[in-house]
């Protein structure tokens, strides 16, 4: 029977003992870390599908936005985008606090992020009222509402999740050793914030082109 062992690979010559290995897994040694990467890849595929759908429909219409509708205003969406990206900074600082076992700092930065997310949601909610077109009038409106709504829901879920870890932080659950929950929540948070960028570009810049 041929066995193809490369010489530079390990060969076992005795039992392997793992009794002293840490049961606290906090980074790439934690399955959930990779699980969140998997979730992010899935959601990235969804983001791509939406973005490509937008571009596909955009390229079929010489006049975009259609029906003499003005392109959307840029100021407020840009501010809310900046606010969202700032919340990534506070989440980063929250993670740093856990690294240093600063429970109070962690709670403050976490809730700051949640509050920023709620502000973004409030701004978006106002924007919904001011959209020039309903979702059932033309596919331009359908895209605007659907993509905005989809991202809105994701900010809601990220805010709820982060609020939950904030509460757990308040009872002292997260420490330097036990921080994987914070790590994966931050990863998801960053994804929601950065996934907004392609949407921001297609929804708010393309109509101006």
């Amino acid at each position: 029977m041929s066995t193809s062992i490369n010489n530079d690979q390990q060969t076992a010559n005795a039992d392997v003992d793992v009794s002293n290995f840490s049961r606290h897994l906090n980074g790439q040694n934690a399955p959930i870390w990779w699980g969140i990467i998997g979730l992010i890849l899935i959601e990235l595929s969804v983001v791509s599908a939406f973005t490509v759908t937008y571009l596909y429909l955009y390229m079929q219409h010489p006049q975009w936005p259609p029906n003499d509708i003005a392109p959307p205003p840029l100021l407020i969406p840009t501010w809310s985008t900046i606010l969202m990206l700032l919340s990534c900074v506070t989440m980063y600082l929250a993670g740093k606090s856990v690294e240093k076992n600063h429970s109070k700092g962690f709670v403050i930065y976490t809730f700051a992020s949640v509050i920023m997310a709620l502000m973004v949601l409030w701004i978006r909610w106002q924007q919904f009222d001011n959209f020039d077109m309903r979702w059932d009038q033309h596919v331009y409106g359908s895209l605007l509402w659907t993509i905005s709504g989809f991202h809105f829901i994701h900010i809601v879920s990220a805010a709820i999740g982060t609020g939950a870890i904030g509460l757990f932080g308040m009872v002292g659950f997260y420490t330097k050793q036990r921080q994987i929950g914070v790590v994966v929540d931050t990863m998801y948070w960053n994804f929601v914030a950065f996934a907004w960028l392609p949407f921001y570009l297609v929804l708010y810049y393309f109509p101006w082109l």
Partner: protein, 646 residues
Amino acid sequence: MKNHPHTEQAIFDDQEGAEPILDKTWLSPPGFFGWFTHVNQRQIGFRFVVTSLIFFALGGLLALLMRLQLVQPENTLMGAEFYHQIMTMHGTTMMFFFAVPAMEGLGIYLVPLMLGTRDMSFPRLNAFGYYVYLIAGITLYLALFLGMAPDTGWFSYVPLAGIDYSPGQGVSFWTTMITFIEISALTAAVELIVTILKQRAPGMTLNRMPIFVWSILVMSFMIVFAMPTVMVGSVLLALDRTFATQFFVASGGGDPLLWQHLFWFFGHPEVYIIVVPALGIVSTVISTFCQREVFGYTAVVLSMVTIGFVSFGLWVHHMFTTGLPHLGLSFFTAASAMIAIPSGVQIFCWIATLWGSKIKFKTPMLFIMGFFAVFVIGGLTGVMAASIPFDMQAHDSYFVVAHLHYVLIGGAVLPFFAGLYYWYPKMTGSMLSERLGCWSFWLIFIGLNLTFFPMHQLGLDGMPRRVYTYLHNMGWGEVNFFVTCAAFLMAFGFLLTFINTLISPYKSRAAGNNPWNADTLEWWAQSPPRNYNFRHLPVISSRTPLWQKAPLYKVTGIRADRREIIITTLLDAKPQGVCIMPSPTYWPFVLALTVGFGFLGFMFKPILFVVGFFLSFFAIVGWLWPARPWLAEKPPEEGHPVRGLQ
């Protein structure tokens, strides 16, 4: 989650007499209510396989009904409406409820065993995925029994599937249940990827991994990138139908072709998602029955990876007749033809493997031989269909029906049944009857060829697909009659295997640990394996751990009194941590119910989706709630050299 503090009372699995403790720790609670709390990978995998076989039987019965309607011209066995419902359900069942869950189920059952670990990465998510699958399937069949099944084909083209032309609930069932079941496929895929990348036995580097595990890894990545697209598509269709968005409505600026792009961008990789694990099964069975490693491990693995990538570039070959510009379509002709090459490489690696070896033609090997003949024919007609001029005649005709059944039955069902006969002893402890298996194979093989080969002829004779009847003077009656009879022959062949699986545990044919003398790790465990899979977790030094002369070393220091598995590095499988796994819990079932409530409720009142969203939130909180006592702090001792691995 019960976490015992790291005290002197800890019991490790390398201690004498740890078996009863292991049994207790890894126990899946018995009884009816206990069934809903199981998280063990073998039980969940077994459920996936059994449920998928039930759906296979249901889908097959639907096909027989279709064939009965088509047995003669202008038959009045059933009306057009009912025929279209069962035609849609046949396709949807086979593609979504049988083929992918069957392969996933085999993966969930076998991959942890083949990797030398005790469970998958996310046991509760595993269970959740199963309940989602079960609920979606039951709901869709309930719709069929209530006469409300979707009736616009498994591919549900718009505008026919839009609210204007399909105002009933049927298509709404389809859009919601498809979105729902994709969740199941996606959770299984992510889990399989993480398990394969991070939970391999120490020493099982990537190039010592069994080929079947590679095929599951490729399948899982394909699921992650392909399925979200159909979710987006079905969500947009649901929005068009419920809220009058205009995505697919030409008069509103939308485009019916957009649906086709979104659907087929998923739909083409979908068929390779089904076929790639089957190719992994073929490698496994050939290797065992030739008692040799498959020739060209690297070539076989790279071929599967290539198929995985290239399959994303083929989707427009389903749209060759839509009037898209010829230059753009040509790219897809080239890609669709090129994908024959990695398939061909594997075929010849297998032929090289089995060349000159003494093979006992037990039932698994019979199915593999059948696979060779049928899949090659299917692949050849596929390359023909890649030609745009020819496809302009063959598309949407019975020629394509013949092609797709040859590749799916030949390329997926036959290897799956080979896998069934091969792994049944491991799963149940009994061997399947060879005599019944032999009869079953030959009836299936002859039946399927007699059923589907004449369909090539029908297609060239101008018979389109998806027709509930045809006229007397078309000259298709005799061939259709023949095909219907042959279909019953084939169905009878499948029935024999079903009977075989049901009665074999009662015939005393004990399997033992390794009845086939195979080389992969699942055959090291008992048949069926204990809930903790292996008495000791192994350490790996070669690609064929059970064929090497040296005994397998084991891992020590794993607790027996709580569920622990080892995390290893991605490339070289060096141990880097120990992960505590969750115990049985009912939260996955509860979450599946709340998510199902949200999706199903959406069909009747959109606000119910929001209600389901919030109920799910509570279920997730319950699921994730860290029960006290929390895992104790301990100064980390990472970085110390691992004894036994140099």
